[in-house]
């Protein structure tokens, strides 16, 4: 069982994740949702990287001295995930530009109203 102070930074990351998640599902502007999605994902990255940390460790680049290194595997995974994140953002933005051209708005509500009136 871990004590409060051992886990506090995990809880902050969770708070951040949920803030991003809230923006995605509660706000109606299409761009804003993607900003929320980015905040959600970045906070998940923080959670991943923090589990690779070793107290007293150093960055996983080998040096002569006798030191302990932090775990490189989460770093590798998150590098990939960051790339996936920007790829998703790019596709989302292109979709938003097209939606703007097709509907003249990027507000979820107004788009629904236009589709419903068909």
């Amino acid at each position: 069982m871990s004590s409060f102070f051992d886990l506090y930074n995990y809880w902050i990351f969770i708070f951040l994740m949920m803030t991003g998640f809230y923006i995605v599902i509660a706000q109606g502007n299409l761009v804003k949702k993607i900003i929320g999605l980015n905040i959600f994902q970045t906070s998940v990255f923080l959670l991943y990287i923090s589990m690779g940390k070793v107290s007293g460790g150093t960055a996983p680049i080998l040096i002569e001295a006798d030191v302990s290194y932090s775990n490189p595997l989460p770093h590798v995974l998150i590098l990939t995930a960051i790339v996936v994140g920007v790829a998703t953002t790019a596709v989302a933005m292109a979709l938003i530009v097209r939606i703007q051209k097709a509907y003249g708005t990027i507000e979820e509500q107004e788009i629904h109203e236009q589709d419903a009136s068909l």
Partner: protein, 324 residues
């Protein structure tokens, strides 16, 4: 001391995240997200993840923000107040968050060297990668060799995004002859002079990051983003026309195909030489020389595809017709 810095950074993150929720001006939201990303990068550094910090800063605060801003220029800057009910989203978020907090209760303490993640799989990377792969930067060894296949997938993801954006925006692009220099900032002498000095340095730095990733933080992905950033800066300040003339969409797509094919091609060559897919050992007599060649080539592939795709994304958005 270090802990104090961490707490301050985390505090900033919380403030920025809440500010994004409240903010109605989308332009401000994007800038706040850029700050969020930069703060995260600082935390990554304090958590020893220098490669990740590098990438987050270049991608989150750089490329992602530019892409969102380009979209805002084509849509609208202000968000309309939402008449959504906040009750259901709030419940979903609270339940999800509570589940996560519940999950943390049995987690190993932060930075505990005895945690399972430090006892299995990772020790081999730390202890043996220098003998097996020959790179001082363990992240590069794992990224390009042990888990080189994931990285191949990552290059394909970027390539896919490039293809998707080309497909989506092709119908709303300007004809080539109607393009005008919309984003020309040439008449600002300070910007122009600083840019003229900075751009060569940025490109040089990108080359350094590309080819020095074995020893320090960096590699093909970061280099590609920085390279593209150099050209984007040129396009924004000195003139987008030159960039457009040099890098036509077709040419950039070919370039990004080249990078992907180079990466997969290395895998095919290792197959033909009798090894498993992406087993660089068979590329040369000496295993370590083979690993060096393999990693050099796949990182080059990553660099080429990322540079070309990032530039292509930027140009695609800049060429969208402003009229409906």
């Amino acid at each position: 001391m270090e802990q104090a810095i961490d707490i301050i950074l985390l505090g900033f993150l919380v403030v920025v995240a809440i500010a994004v929720v409240k903010q109605r001006d989308l332009f401000a939201s994007v800038i706040l997200f850029g700050i969020y990303s930069l703060l995260s990068a600082a935390i990554f550094v304090s958590l020893d993840a220098v490669d990740v910090a590098f990438t987050e800063a270049a991608v989150g605060a750089g490329i992602s923000s530019i892409l969102i801003l380009s979209t805002l220029a084509l849509t609208s800057r202000n968000e309309k107040p939402s008449s959504h009910s906040v009750f259901l989203p709030l419940m979903v978020v609270l339940v999800t968050g509570a589940t996560l907090v519940f999950g943390t209760l049995d987690m190993p303490a932060f930075a505990d060297p005895e945690a399972p993640v430090h006892k299995h799989v990772a020790p081999r990377y730390i202890q043996d990668s220098y003998q097996e792969v020959g790179m001082p930067n363990i992240v590069t060894s794992v990224l390009a060799s042990y888990r080189g296949y994931d990285t191949m997938g990552e290059v394909v993801v970027i390539f896919t995004a490039g293809v998707a954006v080309l497909l989506l925006l092709s119908s709303v692009r300007h004809k080539e002859d109607e393009l005008s220099n919309l984003t020309d900032l040439k008449h600002h002498p300070i910007l122009l002079n600083v840019a003229q000095i900075l751009i060569p340095i940025i490109l040089l730095f990108a080359l350094y990051v590309q080819f020095h990733g074995d020893y320090g933080p960096g590699g093909g992905f970061q280099a590609g983003v920085i390279f593209a950033a150099g050209f984007i800066l040129y396009a924004m300040i000195i003139g987008i026309d030159e960039i457009r003339k040099t890098f036509t969409p077709k040419y950039l797509h070919w370039l990004s195909v080249t990078g992907v094919v180079l990466y997969i091609g290395v895998g095919i060559v290792t197959l033909l030489l009798g090894g498993e897919f992406l087993n660089y050992n068979v590329l040369a007599e000496e295993k370590l020389t083979g690993q060096h060649w393999g990693i050099f080539l796949v990182e080059l592939g990553v660099g080429i595809t990322v540079t070309a795709t990032m530039l292509s994304l930027f140009l695609s958005f800049s060429e969208v017709r402003r009229t409906p």
